[in-house]
């Protein structure tokens, strides 16, 4: 049995903790504390990491780690990205500039993204249709990055599973040379 590590990152409030909780077989480990920053409009925020566990049909296990969303915790981004086999970036489309938010994480994980597969999930696209998925694709194209991107509701287990499946499919492609 192998264990793989997948890292969830993205903006504060994008649903990293929720996404891990949606698919984790055991109660996820969270390190949320009271948020004292009124500008972020959220009662609690992750300052350490989230952790969940998922078993594949093959018996292999995936360890799901979530980063803090706020950029001042970027020291943890680098630590948590070590030994990960893939990265899932979640973006909250209801924020003021979600395209810039995405760029923050593309830049923050640039070194890891040069070698790791990635999938991007855009949340709240149903209630905030702009920017569109095409706008995100343009951002990625301008950076010469080809990354699967999809609309997700991280409260739905199947949406999170799809993101993970997308990562694994890329890994298979890389490993078996499709």
């Amino acid at each position: 049995m192998n264990e793989y590590k997948i890292l969830f990152t993205g903006t504060m409030g994008a649903g990293k903790t929720t996404a891990i909780g949606s698919v984790s077989e055991a109660a996820p480990i969270v390190t949320d504390v009271a948020n004292t920053d009124l500008s972020l409009g959220k009662e609690r925020t992750t300052v350490g990491l989230d952790f969940g566990l998922l078993t594949l049909a093959s018996g292999d296990r995936i360890r799901l780690f979530g980063t803090p969303g706020q950029q001042r915790f970027d020291f943890l981004w680098k630590i948590l990205a070590k030994s990960a086999i893939g990265l899932i970036i979640l973006v909250d489309n209801s924020r003021s500039d979600p395209l810039a938010d995405l760029v923050v994480y593309l830049d923050g994980f640039a070194e890891d993204l040069s070698v790791l597969p990635c999938a991007i999930g855009i949340g709240r696209l149903d209630t905030h249709p702009v920017p569109t998925l095409e706008d995100y694709i343009d951002i990625l194209a301008n950076r010469n990055q080809l990354v699967p991107i999809m609309s997700v509701d991280v409260r739905r287990r199947e949406d999170v599973v799809l993101l993970i499946d997308t990562l694994l499919a890329q890994l298979e492609a890389n490993t078996f040379g499709a």
Partner: protein, 247 residues
């Protein structure tokens, strides 16, 4: 619900892997190395400036310079004068502390993201902060090896701090909030209640973090000149006093 690895092969047009092939499959490029929390943490030194407490907003992080305490002001002056008088007691440790030049470290000028302290929900009066400063002063006097003590929010915003060395207060506040949260989570997962301290024991010093209340935490940084028991005891007493002051 289990995920089957080959399920999305068609989705991307990749070659599907069936069970027969799976016996010949290469392992995915995975390593399972332990996380090294000490690696690659970049600690740049902040600029050192002086600032008067009277000019500081109540919600801004405040650092104490021993000269600040003597500036003419109302209640703050009275309280700080009292501290100076206490410091003249013939206690060698206290006398040493009064001769120490405290420095203020700016909130990490090298970091390029926006500071958000003005949005913080913590909003204490100058009187509360002044009394809290006295407690930090007292901590530094009693612990001769201490060279930093910080009050910060549990999500990593520094509120008040006293440092004798150029240390990146902003980063230390942020990192220790992560550490304390992790420590509390580890305690919970280990079926242990009420994480009291998170202790970093290093070759030439110690860093101790503990909660003050639901939204504030205290970080004590010391060389080996203060023994651990002393650091924990004084740290706990200081946190208890601060809990009453900043409630």
């Amino acid at each position: 619900m289990k995920i089957k690895k080959g399920k999305l092969a068609a989705f991307f047009g990749f070659k599907s892997q069936n069970q027969e092939e799976s016996t010949e499959q290469k392992s995915l490029p995975v390593t399972d190395k332990p996380i090294d929390f000490g690696e690659d943490i970049h600690t740049e030194q902040p600029a050192v400036i002086d600032s008067a407490i009277a000019d500081s907003k109540a919600t801004e992080p405040v650092a104490i310079n021993s000269e600040n305490l003597l500036e003419p002001s109302t209640e703050i002056e009275e309280k700080t004068v009292e501290v100076e008088e206490k410091a003249t007691v013939a206690d060698p440790l206290e006398v040493e502390a009064t001769n120490t030049e405290f420095k203020m470290a700016t909130p990490e000028p090298t970091m390029d993201y926006e500071h958000e302290e003005e949005h913080l929900i913590v909003n204490y009066s100058k009187e509360q902060l002044a009394v809290s400063e006295e407690k930090l002063e007292e901590f530094m006097r009693v612990c001769p090896g201490a060279y930093g003590v910080l009050i910060s929010t549990v999500d990593g915003h520094e509120l008040l701090y006293l440092v004798k060395r150029d240390i990146p207060v902003h980063k230390i506040s942020t990192m220790n909030s992560s550490l304390l949260a992790l420590g509390e989570s580890i305690a919970r997962e280990s079926s242990q209640k009420l994480c009291q301290f998170v202790i970093l024991e290093n070759s030439d010093g110690r860093v101790v973090s503990l909660r003050i209340n639901d939204i504030l935490m205290l970080t004590c940084i010391s060389s080996k000149d203060t023994n651990l028991g002393m650091l924990l005891s004084v740290g706990r007493n200081t946190a208890g006093d601060l809990m009453k002051i900043l409630s």
